[in-house]
């Protein structure tokens, strides 16, 4: 008996029904809104359901995902305001010695950690030493080699001594990586500190249901809000359910149906819909933008002309605009993102799309042959570019689409760009981190100041390797300029040096700019005063409140 006669018919019918249902959704889902401007009566209490994306393995550490949570449970010494200035937090005031080597912080008296331990100068000094010894590798690398010691002068005065002047210090310690934890708590086991960091912040960790959510509850005895807080006092809401929803479709739709009140990272395709129905905030991450490291130590990119041809050879700006639907900005400056203090805008305009120039450079460099596929050759070798990229974790599917478009344009001038997606396993294993394993690789760094230049571009030596220098670009002149910037006495002076450093990196095309790392949140219309911290873009819930 032939049953399959109807198969295509039935399949077709199902398809039509499905498509109709889903095409009907294309008109855009409606958001769960309350009429704004109704009664602006502030509702006390309530629970914020926040749809975050990635769950970290521990709640405290050197990863951005941990900074997001820590900002709400730990306080830092100082905070960065939106205009870049440093404002008081746990430290109500501070002085810097004339030579820039000694920072004296005066702490707010009477502050306690949520486990009852007093937050005094000894506790702060303990934290500094804890970071330096590796308790937080991101904190550590931000302070090395400038940090010397931290001591408690009296109960409310702590002194931090440096080896060399370091102007970015205050900006760096405003990050949540430098959140002050209770020394009593830090002496617990690694497992306890992983699950339940203890600070003095507006919320405490009530429970962590792995794979699902972290439940934060209000700290009713909160007295140490930062100067940038939107209200004075403990948190208004009672609880924050920090949910982990890795799937972007689910995350956004949960906001649409009202099951969450805030979500992280609006998919760019839903951007206009989100802006129409929710309060959307985009945060451009300071630090190093997503730019392409070019391996200057081995392979084809040891020749600067090839690097420059690579930069001229694809229409990076137009492609970024198209790939991210205009939501994520193109960044021509490969070393510093536009949201970073010390960013040099003039540098960003270099290497506009110019295939003629690119071809000319390639010809000059001797790559004049062409093989059957159209790729350039020289002495029988093909112009191959091994291009691994961290798929999923750093480069989203739109980012992948962008790379594919660029790949096609590079092909036209003769580069054979081989895109190699790295799985997370390979990325964490450091699979493509040695000089013989790639020619080009995109990455970003978050950092609130241009001091990121030192972290990334410090020359790597045998005695003191710099594994963050993924272009393997050792330039002593560059190194000197960055150090001058770090140890400069005033910000304008520092910016001068930083600008020169950025110019060198761009002129030499040690890296090629792509786009700024961004994140965004979308907030339901009946939830107010959720804001993003300036230094790392962490969502802050201590001032948030619902209206009816």
């Amino acid at each position: 008996m032939i049953r399959s006669r109807f198969a295509p018919l039935a399949a077709g019918a199902s398809a039509v029904i499905l498509s109709a249902l889903i095409a009907g959704c294309s008109s855009g889902a409606t958001g769960a809104t309350t009429a704004s401007g109704d009664s602006s009566a502030i509702a006390q209490g309530g629970t914020i359901v926040y749809g975050h994306e990635q769950e970290p393995p521990c709640l405290y550490g050197g990863w951005l995902q941990q900074a997001y949570i820590d900002r709400n449970i730990l306080d830092s010494l100082v905070t960065e305001a939106n205009n870049g200035s440093i404002e008081p937090w746990l430290a109500t005031s501070w002085t810097v010695s004339g030579n820039g080597l000694v920072y004296t912080f005066h702490l707010k008296p009477g502050v306690k950690f949520t486990d009852g331990t007093p937050l005094n100068a000894a506790a702060v000094a303990y934290n500094f030493n804890y970071w330096e010894k590796g308790g937080n590798s991101t904190a550590q690398v931000s302070m090395d080699p400038y940090y010397k010691s931290a001591t408690a002068v009296n109960a409310t005065t702590v002194q931090v001594t440096l080896n060399k002047p370091y102007l970015p210090l205050l900006t760096m310690i405003s990050q949540a990586y430098f959140g002050i934890q209770s020394p009593t708590a830090l002496k617990r086991s690694a497992a306890a500190n992983c699950d339940d960091p203890v600070g003095s912040g507006a919320f405490t960790v009530k429970q962590w249901i792995h794979g699902q959510e972290v439940i934060l509850v209000k700290n009713p005895d909160y007295t140490s809000w930062p100067a940038t807080a939107l209200h004075k006092g403990p948190a208004i809401v009672n609880e924050v359910d920090w949910k982990f929803l890795p799937d972007a479709v689910e995350r956004y739709e949960s906001l649409v149906t009202g099951e969450t009140n805030v979500i992280y990272d609006v998919p760019t395709v839903d951007w206009s819909n989100a802006k129409a129905n929710f309060q959307v905030t985009q945060y451009i991450t300071p630090g190093k933008p997503v730019s392409i490291y070019l391996n200057t130590s081995e392979g084809i990119f040891t020749d600067a002309r090839l690097r420059q041809a690579f930069a001229y050879g694809a229409d990076r700006e137009a492609d970024v605009q198209a790939a991210f639907h205009g939501v994520i900005p193109y960044e021509g400056n490969p070393s510093v993102s536009r949201a970073t203090p010390g960013y040099d805008a003039a540098v960003a305009g270099a290497y506009p799309y110019d295939p003629a120039k690119a071809n000319q450079l390639l010809n000059e460099a001797g790559w004049t042959g062409r093989d059957a596929a159209g790729y350039r050759t020289k002495d029988g070798k093909e112009l191959d570019v091994r291009f691994p990229y961290p798929a999923g974790s750093v480069v989203t599917s739109e980012g992948t689409s962008l790379l594919e478009t660029l790949q096609q344009q590079w092909k036209q001038i003769g580069f054979n760009v081989q895109l190699i997606p790295e799985t997370q396993a390979q990325t964490f294993a450091g699979a493509y981190s040695t000089p013989n394993s790639y020619d080009a690789q995109p990455w970003y760094w978050t950092s609130p100041s241009a001091a990121i230049l030192w972290i990334v571009w410090r020359p790597s030596t045998k005695a003191d390797p710099n594994y963050s220098n993924s272009s393997f670009y050792n330039n002593n002149q560059l190194s000197a300029l960055i150090q001058e910037g770090n140890t400069a006495a005033t910000t304008p002076a520092a910016d001068q040096y930083y600008g020169q450093a950025q110019a060198i990196i761009q002129d030499q095309a040690a890296a090629v700019g792509l786009y700024d790392q961004t994140m965004s949140i979308a907030v339901a219309k009946n939830l107010h005063d959720v804001w993003l911290e300036k230094s790392q873009g962490e969502p802050v819930f201590e001032d948030a409140y619902f209206t009816k």
């Binding site: 889903i22 794979g211 995350r251 964490f428």
Partner: protein, 334 residues
């Protein structure tokens, strides 16, 4: 007919475990021992497979702690290597691990500092619930489709088998995303974030059950229709047994054997599919733990999960054997 059959079968063989003899006891012991061997073998294979992964575990651990991907200096790696025992010879590490297994200790997660039993434990239950519910739902859907449409005329037959073939060809997460958008976002019957609530489990269960029902249905339908052609069915009908009763009491029982065999395999497919469903619906479960653990080279956790999955299989196979015995009288006698 069945009453007649049961009357003639000796009472003792209706309850095979009624009088355990020494032979049965030894059989059970052998089964248990071989099950343990299988479990240890599975865990060992995983352990060594992970050691084959290029790169050093210490590097992966440090990278995971900072969200970075870089090399680390030997001075930075040494304390990590020491803390986790990576500087011991491989065979010692393996023996330590297996020794721990026999003491009931699955080891400690490299990234979460907690015992693996804790890491897996909390998330195992939701996955098992999802898998078990999906298997049951798949069976219900498959049997309903067969009972309603098999051998009821050309059109219904064709409809039924086409439906099965269609659903068996659906990729899991395609179903998941479509169901999510249609039934949770557009028509808001179910929540988008199901969590572990019963109502929120419906869509994930359907996501897994629908393709599996198609698969099981196809296999069973063939048998079902063959059985309906058998002489003893005609005999039952001529004795006045209604069509529904015939289908339910006789045909079904004889035709489900291949699908029962497949159910053992289906558990594995469901566990894999559960990862996808958990991801699409934000449900906690083993799936996400597994993917993370492999990505971060958390060897004890991956091995622990394999152990659990193998354990589930051993139990599932035991159940299948029992189901066989219950369903097929021919097997009971032997």
């Amino acid at each position: 007919m069945s009453q007649v059959a049961e009357a003639t079968v000796p009472v003792a063989s209706r309850r095979p475990a009624a009088r355990p003899s020494a032979r049965t006891a030894r059989l059970i012991l052998v089964k248990i021992v071989s099950a343990i061997l299988v479990l240890v073998a599975a865990a060992s294979v995983t352990f060594f497979a992970q050691l084959l992964v290029p790169g050093s575990r210490a590097v992966a651990i440090l990278n995971q702690q900072t969200g970075r991907a870089q090399l680390w200096t030997p001075a930075q790696l040494a304390p990590v290597n020491h803390e986790f025992g990576f500087d011991k010879p491989l065979i010692v590490q393996y023996l330590d691990y297996v020794g721990g297994l026999f003491r009931g200790n699955l080891g400690t997660s490299y990234t979460q500092y907690r015992p693996v039993t804790q890491v897996i434990g909390a998330e195992l239950l939701p996955s098992l619930e999802l898998t078990a519910a999906s298997l049951v739902a798949a069976w219900v859907l498959a049997i309903a489709a067969i009972l309603l449409t098999a051998k009821r005329g050309r059109f219904f037959s064709a409809l039924g088998s086409t439906w099965e073939a269609l659903t068996a060809s659906l990729p899991t997460y395609w179903v998941g995303v479509v169901l999510l958008v249609v039934f949770a976002v557009e028509i808001r019957i179910f929540p988008v974030i199901g969590g572990t609530s019963a109502w929120g489990t419906v869509l994930p269960v359907l996501t897994l059950a629908i393709p599996l029902a198609g698969f099981l249905g196809q296999v069973t339908r063939d048998e079902f229709e063959k059985v309906l052609d058998q002489p003893f069915i005609t005999t039952a009908r001529t004795r006045g047994m209604g069509d529904t009763a015939v289908r339910l009491k006789h045909a079904l029982r004889h035709s489900v054997l291949p699908a029962i065999t497949l159910s053992g395999w289906a558990m594995g497919a469901l566990i894999s599919g559960a990862v996808i469903a958990e991801n699409v619906y934000g449900r906690p479960g083993i799936g996400q733990v597994l993917v993370n653990a492999v990505n971060t080279r958390d060897v004890p956790t991956v091995s622990g999960i394999v152990l659990v999955v193998a354990g589930v299989y051993v139990i599932a196979n035991l159940l299948v054997d029992i189901a066989y015995a219950l369903v097929d009288p021919r097997l009971r006698a032997s």
